[in-house]
């Protein structure tokens, strides 16, 4: 079964963010990878790109379809998980851990508080499915 860490915050678009200092690590949720199915490509932004909350950050493509990933918070792309480019299937295996997508230098840390908690997100996807 899936485990949604309590220390993460979540979006209704199925991204998560985990904040340490002024860096927010961003990924897609277990629920998202399950809905997408076998992931075959991951497109991630370039280092230094300024992203705005709610705007496209990249995309993941499964056998089934392409889906945009939206930035859960605003910030500058400080690190990119390049390992996913050659091993996109990691997103199906460990979406909340090793298969993080990018690290953002937070532009506005207060945005984080408005995101869903683990409990709220699980209620949300429970209601959705």
């Amino acid at each position: 079964m899936s485990n949604y860490p309590d220390t993460y915050r979540y979006t209704k678009e199925h991204e998560w963010v985990s904040v340490e200092g002024d860096l927010g690590t961003v990924g897609i949720t277990f629920h998202a990878q399950k809905e997408l199915g076998d992931i075959v490509y991951v497109d991630l932004p370039k280092l230094g790109l300024q992203v705005e909350q709610g705007k496209a950050l990249g995309s993941v493509e499964s056998v089934k379809a392409v889906s945009d990933i939206y930035a859960p918070v605003s910030g500058e792309v400080a690190e990119v998980n390049d390992a996913l480019t050659s091993a996109p299937e990691k997103l199906n295996e460990d979406p909340h851990g090793a298969a993080w997508l990018v690290k953002l230098k937070l532009a506005n840390p207060s945005e984080v508080q408005k995101l869903l908690t683990a409990a709220e997100y699980q209620t949300y996807i429970g209601a959705e499915s």
Partner: protein, 345 residues
């Protein structure tokens, strides 16, 4: 689950790739009860059948099936269908779920024969058991000698002790059966088939795998390769058109297009660059807009990205370099021979 023409349909169970391989190597079970059924009965059932469809129903014998199409007067597809001859005066049609009301109305509208057109979808559920082990699995649940049913033939018998129409047809490019039963029997049959198939490696399979399997086998999907704007000549389905059988709806337009020559044709492509050319993406040739993708997906069997597209006829030759606009980026592709996959004999 996704909403598919008003039906809640599973896209995947264990995963599209996993289900796809199960069908190619062992067996997969699909619940395709959403498909529509129409019956045509009466002394002139065959005349009506032949008048509304492109293939020649008079060539069928009792227990035989054929792939065919309903066309508009202008030659575009109303639907693609499977025609089963039960008796000389009874035909059983399997049609696309989203087209069933339209098909029924269309056939009735053209019924100037001594025949009755009956909407029968609510009387049938359909399970498709597909894959090289399908016969062995189904044989454990039926007294019908399945080996005796040839490809594109069917028989009425029993499965799990209940009446079933067992057709050796499918939409995956594999050997297999499509089993029609009363809806109230479907759930039990589903469970019994999965239990019987467990030792053979059966897996429940969803719409996602159904799509990748049919694409590899280059089987058309309504709304993608074929629709009201496409003719059988363009879709590479000339083999289901029998112009010599007499008049039928759409015939005049097909003759006219054949004389004038078709302008566009369905072609298979394989991606060269990184990316997947998906449904609706634009196709360029020498930098100019040349056509559009009708279906595109990773091919789990071939382990590369494949697809089908419409191209001007002069460009639809094998080995042509294309670029497909994948989210505004041109990605290299090349036309290839189809089908992408053919099962070993």
């Amino acid at each position: 689950m996704v909403d598919f023409g008003g039906w809640d349909m599973p896209v995947q169970y264990s995963g599209i790739v996993d289900e796809h391989h199960a069908v190619r190597k062992a067996a997969g079970l699909f619940d395709v009860s959403h498909m529509g059924e129409i019956e045509i009965r009466g002394p002139e059932a065959e005349l009506l059948m032949n008048y509304v469809s492109t293939n020649d129903a008079s060539r069928l014998r009792d227990g035989q099936a054929q792939y065919s199409a309903l066309l508009y007067d202008h030659g575009g597809f109303v639907d693609d269908i499977l025609v089963h001859r039960v008796h000389a005066d009874e035909f059983f049609l399997c049609v696309n779920a989203s087209n069933q009301a339209k098909d029924f109305a269309w056939i009735r509208e053209h019924n100037r024969f001594d025949a009755e057109v009956i909407f029968a979808s609510e009387r049938y559920a359909q399970l498709a058991l597909q894959g090289p082990r399908a016969l062995e699995i189904l044989q454990t649940l039926t007294p019908v000698e399945l080996n005796a049913i040839r490809y594109y033939w069917f028989t009425d018998g029993e499965v799990c002790g209940v009446p079933a129409r067992i057709a050796r047809t499918g939409y995956t490019g594999e050997d297999g059966f499509e089993v029609y039963v009363a809806p109230e029997q479907a759930e039990r049959l589903w469970r019994e088939l999965l239990a019987a198939g467990a030792p053979y490696g059966i897996k429940p399979a969803g719409l996602g795998a159904r799509n990748t399997l049919r694409l590899e086998a280059k089987m058309a999907l309504y709304g993608h390769e074929i629709d009201a704007t496409i003719t059988p000549w363009e879709a590479g389905l000339g083999w289901i058109v029998k112009l010599d059988k007499g008049d039928f709806v759409g015939r005049k337009a097909l003759v006219k297009q054949q004389e004038a020559g078709v302008a566009r044709q369905l072609a298979g492509f394989s991606m060269v660059g990184r990316g997947i050319g998906r449904d609706g993406y634009e196709v360029l040739c020498d930098g100019r807009l040349a056509g559009w993708v009708t279906s595109g997906s990773p091919s789990p069997t071939l382990n590369r990205n494949i697809g089908l597209c419409y191209l001007p006829v002069e460009l639809a030759t094998v080995g042509r370099a294309l670029q497909i606009l994948v989210r505004l980026q041109p990605v290299e592709a090349v036309t290839v021979t189809t089908p992408f996959y053919k099962r070993p004999k």
